[in-house]
């Protein structure tokens, strides 16, 4: 399964987190993991609206014999994050928010990668669980 959601307005945040949650539920992730994933997607897609105005959220799954995972790529073509190290510090914000979005999302996920330059900011997150 692979789905791309355009993030243009606040309702798209609701849609993206709901698609992520439904996929996680379908793949058998626990309700705790469903919530972690939906929350991280919510934080990252809101960042797009606040900093770049629009962008995309790609949601896909990957399954093999002993594990199942969800990968999510959230990207925009905005001006980029000037200082990623600072952006990952709790409480650091340039938007008047809480500064909890990026560092919080990293703590919720198994995988977290961020790259940013002017014209492309890409955050990749993932959860992987063993199949019992």
């Amino acid at each position: 399964m692979s789905e791309t959601i355009r993030i243009d307005e606040p309702l798209d945040i609701v849609k993206a987190r709901s698609v992520a949650r439904q996929l996680a539920a379908r793949l058998g992730f626990s309700i705790g993991d469903q919530t972690r994933l939906a929350t991280a997607v919510s934080e990252l897609t809101r960042n797009i609206l606040q900093h770049a105005g629009k962008g995309q959220c790609h949601i896909s799954d990957c399954q093999n014999n002993d594990s199942v995972g969800i990968n999510i790529v959230v990207e925009d073509n905005g001006s980029g994050i000037p200082d990623i190290e600072k952006a990952m510090i709790d409480g650091f914000t340039t938007s008047g928010g809480l500064g909890a979005g990026l560092p919080g999302s990293r703590r919720l996920m198994d995988h977290f990668a961020i790259e940013s330059k002017p014209g492309l900011t890409k955050v990749t997150i993932g959860l992987v669980r063993r199949i019992k």
Binding site: G32, R36, A38, T39, E43, R46, L98
Partner: protein
């Protein structure tokens, strides 16, 4: 998306039942404060039993709403935080929910009543006798 705000004497009850957009959340904040000021509510219970995602933005709206309501003079209790929502909020770090919490609406109401009584506002029913 309008969140119903119910009046029980001078206590207001709001139960958030849907997945709110950011705009809906801010609209709810404004409407709740208006209603608190209008009836001079002594207590407010915000029930979030049905909310399965509370991210940092929503947590801030809830906290801010509670602080604003307190500035007006109302006691505020948030009820029904789901276990997995609590886990996620704490894992995200920082104290994202600082409002006083209760397991459910019934406990929230009891807490409100006892706080209202202890601060000397015994009369919970709205006094309309001079109107």
């Amino acid at each position: 998306m309008k969140i119903p705000i119910l009046k029980l004497g001078r206590i207001l009850l709001a139960s958030i039942q849907v997945d709110l957009s950011d705009e809906d959340a801010l609209q709810f904040q404004g409407e709740l404060l208006q209603e608190i000021a209008k009836i001079e509510a002594l207590g407010v219970a915000i029930d979030i039993t049905s909310m399965d995602v509370v991210d940092s933005f929503m947590a801030r709206v809830i906290n801010d709403t509670a602080s604003m309501a307190r500035l007006l003079g109302a006691e505020v209790i948030v009820s029904g935080v789901q276990p997995y929502v609590a886990m996620t909020l704490v894992e995200m770090g920082r104290e994202l929910i600082g409002a006083d919490c209760a397991f459910n609406l019934e406990q929230a109401l009891n807490m409100l009543k006892s706080r209202i009584a202890s601060r000397g506002d015994m009369q919970l029913e709205q006094d309309n006798t001079h109107e």
